[in-house]
Assembly symmetry: C2
Homo-oligomer: 158 residues x 2
């Protein structure tokens, strides 16, 4: 079963975010906490939306998404930030059900694209996405400014 | 001079979007029109914000951006979708001024990251960004579902 998350789901969601970061070998980057996540998802200025997958009444996976925008298409896109299903509950269709629901939301909201990023070593995920009709766009590289470099550069603004 | 765009700037902005698409060799993808862009930027549900660079009273460049969200940081990011300065007016600091203003907005809004994508063949741009303190994150690949593939998959949603 797929359903939108509510504020009451935030503790379960934080646990899933931590589990995802361990799977991605990025747990050293995780500093999320419940109060801030609740404010950012369900406060005055929501930054993202969340779908949950349930199995026998237990939350076993999530998809966090928001809208980006393509000037070339002149339409919003649906951008999937995180997709995760607990490893012990994979192979039961939860990931595919989350993605299909997101694709439906993208079409309903007149989005030109449904996009996300995948780690280049995650071959099973890439094959799974391609089998569903997605394609890698390998010529685009992610560029990031963060931490002290961001603060230093911000201070140069006129 | 850097200033936020208003609805009156939409015609100039559409011209710049077309010029960017020609520079990126992607003009066959561009279907933007003024009415839709005005609605998406200045309507009931704005999808993005725009800064303009002016030179002697003429609009010569733009940056279109929105907020993404990092669950690992538990904070929004500032995502730059397009950055463009007319080729004949480069080398005068407009691009750097747009980026610095965006970095300042990112810091003011408590964003953990300032991010964008760059085409892997655009070596001058990559070197420019790295000199400002940004870094490529090459292990992430963009994955996209669009057009008929998106509609087909959406139709499978439960």
């Amino acid at each position: 079963m797929i359903r939108p998350a509510t504020a009451a789901d935030v503790p379960a969601l934080v646990q899933l975010i931590r589990a995802l970061s361990e799977y991605e070998k990025l747990s050293h980057q995780v500093v999320v906490d419940e109060a801030r996540l609740r404010e950012h998802l369900f406060g005055a200025r929501p930054y993202a939306e969340v779908l949950l997958a349930e199995d026998a009444g237990r939350v076993v996976g999530y998809a966090l998404y928001f809208h980006s925008y393509s000037t070339f298409l002149g339409r919003p896109s649906l951008y999937l930030e995180d997709l995760f299903v607990l490893p012990e509950l994979r192979g039961r269709g939860h990931g595919k059900a989350l993605l299909a629901r997101l694709a439906r939301i993208a079409v309903e909201r007149d989005c030109g694209r449904f996009e996300w990023m995948v780690l280049d070593w995650n071959t099973p995920a890439i094959q799974f996405y391609e089998a569903l009709g997605a394609a890698l766009v390998p010529e685009w590289k992610l560029c990031r400014m963060t931490g002290d470099a961001l603060k230093r550069f911000a201070a140069t603004a006129a």
